[in-house]
């Protein structure tokens, strides 16, 4: 047998190969070992972003039920500020009043929980609502914006009564300012509209109450005659 012939036959031995199934299985076993015993197999850098998003969404979810003074409350406050950023100027008073109402409603559910920080946050919302209400032009406001303000103001009165029935006294200083701003807004709103005789009389009555600094009564008269 010549050398070239021998080499050719030697190369025929290349046909000896392991089965493809075994090759694939062995590869999986070799590279799969680390993940097999990992307590948390998804904790890999590639998943870090995803995990962070899940944690963030979870924290945001839990934070929505938190009260002032709770660990997650700063997150809730951050989301409130974010929401406020997207609210239009004419809707801001109603929005702040709604936040104030939520604080009072939380207190009616758990009166002793985080009382001081909740009242503090309530006062801040009320004060902000009064400032925003004073800024907007009632003469150009539409009926929907006005309706929302009145609805929240009415709810505020009801919630305040519930809280006071539980023995929690809230200072009238800021709520008084808000009622004054609301009364002023309502009077200006009605003045800019054409009214029939009956409504003109109601407006007159409201103005009288406003002069006497009976601001919450202005709102009451308006609501009764609606």
């Amino acid at each position: 047998m010549k050398e070239t012939e021998l080499i050719q036959k030697l190369q025929g031995l290349k046909q000896i190969k392991p089965s493809k199934r075994w090759v694939s299985l062995t590869k999986n076993q070799i590279f799969g070992d680390n993940s097999k015993f990992t307590f948390f197999p998804y904790f890999k850098p590639a998943f870090a972003g995803l995990i962070a998003v899940f944690i963030l969404f979870g924290a945001f979810g839990f934070a929505q039920n938190s009260l002032p003074g709770d660990l997650l409350y700063p997150i809730k406050k951050m989301t409130e500020r974010g929401r406020a950023f997207f609210v239009s100027e004419t809707e801001k008073p109603a929005f702040q009043m709604r936040l104030a109402n939520e604080k009072l409603e939380n207190l009616t559910k758990a009166p002793l929980k985080n009382l001081a920080p909740t009242i503090f946050e309530f006062e801040a919302n009320i004060s902000e609502a009064a400032k925003n209400l004073a800024k907007i032009d009632a003469t150009t406001s539409d009926a929907i914006a006005m309706g929302k303000i009145i609805e929240e103001a009415k709810r505020l009165g009801e919630n305040k009564e519930k809280i006071e029935a539980l023995g929690i006294i809230i200072s009238d200083e800021n709520t008084g300012k808000l009622y004054r701003a609301t009364a002023e807004y309502l009077i200006k709103y009605l003045e800019s509209r054409s009214l029939d005789e009956e409504k003109e009389n109601i407006l007159k009555e409201m103005k009288e109450l406003y002069k006497n600094e009976e601001y919450s009564e202005v709102l009451e008269v308006f609501l009764i005659n609606q």
């Binding site: 290349k14 000896i16 392991p18």
Partner: protein, 167 residues
């Protein structure tokens, strides 16, 4: 920076057949060849994943592990290295009958004779003619000079020829 897992995965794909064949010629058993081959790559990966920067030639590194494992297999288990070539099959049982039929009797004889060659001769023939390694690569693995490796290869072929004549 290269990912060691991806890098070793490529090495695995390129070398698995060669290392398997290399071991198979020495143990003549599909099961033992599979065990020793998977152990070779497992040990290789354990070292490679922490020390891959220092491994210049991964193929040579794997052959070295395989050689040591085969030596350990015969030494530790107290087995003799005599292999009854008459009882062994030429092709891996994983192959189809069609593939098996392609191997002619001459090749079968060569395989039997190759198994009987001394280790250095067997290695140099497998590496050069089956695994297509260059003389310089083989010289490095055998820790010999290139001329000395050429002489070994020449003597290995001559020995193989003589043994074939005897069969």
């Amino acid at each position: 920076m290269k990912n060691p897992r991806k890098e070793f995965s490529k090495i695995y794909d390129n070398c698995i057949e060669k290392i398997y064949r290399f071991i198979y010629f020495k143990v003549n058993s599909e099961e033992i060849a599979q065990d020793l081959c998977s152990e070779t790559f497992l040990k290789g990966w354990e070292v490679f994943k922490v020390n891959h920067h220092n491994i210049e030639n991964p193929q040579a590194f794997l052959y070295k592990i395989a050689r040591n494992l085969v030596t350990d297999y015969y030494r530790v288990k107290g087995r003799t290295r005599f292999i009854s070539v008459e009882k062994t099959s030429i092709v891996d049982p994983g192959q189809s009958l069609e593939e098996m039929a392609l191997l002619n009797s001459d090749i079968d004889n060569i395989r039997k004779v190759l198994t009987d060659l001394k280790e250095d001769y067997q290695n140099v023939i497998i590496w050069h003619y089956l695994d297509d390694l260059s003389i310089s690569e083989i010289a490095k693995m055998m820790e010999k000079s290139e001329p000395a490796t050429r002489v070994t290869l020449h003597r290995a072929l001559k020995s193989l020829k003589n043994k074939i004549k005897e069969v």
